[in-house]
Subunit: 559 residues, 2 copies
């Protein structure tokens, strides 16, 4: 308990940690030297083709959460702390995490490397550029855009309709002014004018493809299948038609290799791929998860935002495409978020309010219900904050006990792995019992029914409404024979509904699907709900304003 008496920032704790050369971490994890490509002393890329051939049979623990506050509820922190706890009790554990996007790092949410004494290192470098993966994806995405606009400019032999180009440009940035743009202005020497827009890189189909591809051949084939738009005759135009799948794969060659780092306690962590879970499928790469499963007995991984988003997609998209199933699920809850679901305004979340905690529990209850519907008995991890009172914490734990839900207080932020022993015990119990995992829908179900199943069983809603545009798209999708893919819901993370302000556990609501975008390379149909935006904006006081660096290169203000 002494550790938390002195309040250090995550960056200060990370800077003071005893970081080991990543070579040693690799060696301890059973990764042969020839497979390790160092990026500085503390990061490496793993050439998986040089790993000893082993079966992927490590068990998978998925860490998900209740519906979060804007600051996030600490899934990465719990993932790291749980893996460290498992390591401390003698299990061979490994972590698989997503890599941070610079958008939130420069904007509001901050980095994505855990917190306190449950962090992955080196914190700064993982949060800034990391090993260039997101930049390579940005480049491949925008190279494709440049090829499309060049094709229009050079005669348009494929007869692409500039009004029906669905491929958008991307930047790894929160930049609302780029959501809707016009390009090709300025006269005949400067391309063909058309409407376009920028998404954040983590929403790019290429990010999803990188996260779902199994090898270079599969990567190239998926890239070739991307639909970039339609001809004047309304036929789909693919990357294969443009002939650039080879070049795009060349650009992604290094980014496709998982990155190895370590926790403060030295547990190996593969950090690779980073799709957001509200606008994309929200899971780290299958390549990283599979590699970890071939090296360790237990892989602790996470999926973004609440169980309605990341976990649902983990089950229906990633696990399905990867032909595996999760062996245990942890739901992270916080006193802070439950108070928010209980109706407390943001400014008062620091004040004790046991009533509000109790009033917020139905949100947790629905996420528990969802995981049970998938055939898995979840474990609740209460991620403890310094400001939480014992009464608030006790309210949640005793509710769980009363409702036969395994639950533990996780004080991994303050104590590292040691703070996660009780949680680890519950998880080990789940891993040693059988579960009856099954997806909630079949890919052969009608697309509208797949959406309806998610809305009813996962969100707890009543019905789905499709806009006229979405209805037309549904017909097009069937006509093109693209119906047999899972759906990837794009929905606000703050609510089970498509309206961010409706916290708690709303009932009887309808979800509106405003647009359906087929992603043939990723292998899913993106369904945009409500006002969800695929390019975030910066807040009034972006985190960037607090960042600085001194003459010796010491960074401050990185969260």
């Amino acid at each position: 308990m002494t550790k938390i008496t002195k309040l250090l920032t995550d960056l200060e704790i990370a800077s003071k940690a005893d970081i080991r050369p990543v070579k040693e971490i690799a060696e301890a994890a059973g990764i042969p030297e020839e497979a390790v490509e160092l990026y500085g002393k503390y990061k490496a890329k793993i050439d998986v083709t040089k790993l000893p051939k082993k079966t992927c049979n490590g068990k998978v623990v998925l860490v998900t959460a209740i519906s979060p506050t804007p600051a996030g509820e600490g899934k990465s922190t719990v993932t790291v702390g749980l893996a460290d706890a498992l390591s401390q009790i003698g299990e061979k554990a490994m972590i698989a995490l997503r890599e941070p996007s610079l958008g939130p790092v420069m904007g509001m949410k901050g980095g994505a490397t855990g917190g306190g004494y449950s962090q992955v290192l080196p914190m700064e470098e993982i949060n800034l550029h990391f090993n260039g993966d997101l930049h390579a994806i940005t480049t491949a995405n925008n190279a494709l855009s440049a090829m499309i606009d060049n094709h229009l400019h050079q005669g348009n032999s494929l007869q692409i309709d500039p009004r029906r180009i669905t491929w958008k440009r991307v930047l790894d940035m929160n930049d609302r002014a780029l959501r809707n743009v016009t390009v090709g202005l300025g006269g005949p020497a400067h391309g063909v004018p058309r409407e376009d827009g920028f998404d954040i890189t983590v929403a790019s189909e290429i990010m999803a493809i990188l996260c779902l591809a199994t090898d270079l051949v599969d990567l190239k084939e998926r890239l070739a299948r991307i639909v970039i738009g339609y001809t004047y005759g309304k036929e789909a135009v693919t990357v294969r038609d443009l002939g650039v799948e080879g070049a795009l794969t060349v650009l992604l060659k290094e980014a496709f290799k998982p990155n190895l780092v370590q926790t403060i306690e030295g547990t190996p962590a593969l950090i690779h791929g980073g799709p957001f879970a509200n606008i994309a499928h929200g899971c780290n790469s299958l390549m990283a998860t599979n590699t970890a499963r071939s090296l360790a007995d237990i892989v602790v991984t996470e999926a973004g935002f609440g169980a309605d988003l990341g976990a649902e997609k983990f089950m229906h998209i990633k696990a399905r495409q990867g032909s595996f199933s999760p062996d245990a699920v942890v739901i992270v809850a916080t006193v802070r978020a439950l108070k928010m679901h209980g109706g407390v305004p943001k400014q008062q979340l620091q004040e004790e309010n046991v009533e509000a905690v109790r009033a917020g529990i139905p949100n947790l209850e629905k996420h528990i219900d969802t995981i049970r519907r998938f055939g898995i008995e979840p474990v609740v991890a209460l991620n403890r904050f310094i400001s939480d009172t014992s009464e608030e914490v006790e309210e949640i734990i005793s509710w769980c006990k009363a409702n036969n839900v395994a639950a533990a207080v996780a004080d991994v932020w303050g104590k590292g792995g040691e703070g996660g022993f009780e949680l680890a015990g519950h998880v080990m119990k789940q891993l040693n019992s059988l579960n009856n995992f099954a997806p909630l829908y079949d890919v052969k179900d009608k697309t509208a029914d797949k959406v309806r199943t998610i809305v009813r069983e996962v969100y707890g809603g009543e019905d789905v409404q499709f806009t006229d545009k979405a209805l037309k798209q549904l017909i097009e999708i069937e006509r093109n024979g693209w119906g047999e893919m899972p759906v990837c819901m794009a929905k606000t993370q703050y609510s089970f509904t498509d309206e961010p302000k409706l916290t708690g556990r709303p009932e009887g609501f309808t979800i509106t699907i405003r647009e359906i975008i087929p992603k043939l390379g990723a292998g899913f149909l993106v369904c945009l709900t409500g006002d969800i935006m695929t390019m975030p904006g910066l807040p009034k006081q972006p985190a960037a304003l607090n960042m600085d660096i001194d003459a010796e290169g010491n960074i401050t203000g990185l969260m």
Copy 2:
């Protein structure tokens, strides 16, 4: 001579080369292990703060060229071959080069790692993403744009006039459709509508700043000085006003470290920074040049395109800001380019044509004259191509002899360092004699006079015409007290004039300055001439169409 009988591509030659671990290259160059940050086995970043403090007194050999063809005349190839030749004759030589932009790699010109047996390795990785430097610059540039648009959106307390924002976004891409765009469309939730445009990353002021800054403190201070536009009251708005110089420096921290690689023959090469010389200042980083000068006795470096562009800026911008002067200058000429200057159309450049070579020599003659005006006696390197005939080669060499110009045939493409011995001999002679280097203008001259001096003395033209817009800008620049900076001409590389088709050595021409953009961070005034564009386009058949990668990760089609 056996080497060139079997015609291999540059990529094939590079793949077959015996590459040594970069750790060994660093050790041989006197770089202590603690300063070496490995990026894979064959690339490293150098932490210059961990180098032994030594005086920067290595001599500098600048490699420049005649006005080039679109394919380039092999400055990088000659730079590498010359350094290898110097190493072979026992000199302690090191290379400082610019890093390639992905625009030309995916477009037409190909990579920038030399050719044949005079290449830097690993060719693929240097040409693709390298160590992420250009991506970091792109990110910092666009983070600033996002901060500007966010400022407009969040109340615009600085009263920035959206019509007078001069800061543009960038991508490391050839993408003409992004030259002129409108952003912020779609309604009040999506920013403030305004005109904007994208430049290629190598034209970003942040690239110039990274290449001219001497340490992290200078880097941050220069970033703070960037003028991003003007208020409604026409006052300049800087990065310091926005308060994000700290965050931008944080984003550039790793990119600011020079990258170490090796030539096929094992000569150490620092490759760092990559501004184009037609639209930017065209020289690798001062950091890399200074680091090389502290480690080696002779540093061979290049400046982009012909001596009218890169070399002029090397003398007036880089050498001036770095307080050093070049000790020798090599002008690369090719039979192919001289034939072009002699009036031969592109399709017939492969055919023997001694007449045309002779007719093209005045272009070379003017570049020789320019270097002499700077007080340095140049050495001409004829970069030999397989298709050159002995008569064509002899025509050039004998003209040089007759005109008292030191000249050598450099067959470094076919033979590596061995093919550069004669050239190395001439260069050593120059290094051992005194020169009278002096810039052609003083920064305190009036800006219009500085431009006039360059047009008359370097381009061999008659006069300068300023558009009304440029004239207004000249007045503004004086009013703001920004007049005492060197100018950075943005001009086509194909001609001494501002009209690309006027090859050879035109006379009596006038250069039109259409716009002057103050770059206070870089410390120069960019003067845009003619139709020069700061974002290139892709050709009808981009190089990307030929690129591919197999299941084992072997790349083909990279030039």
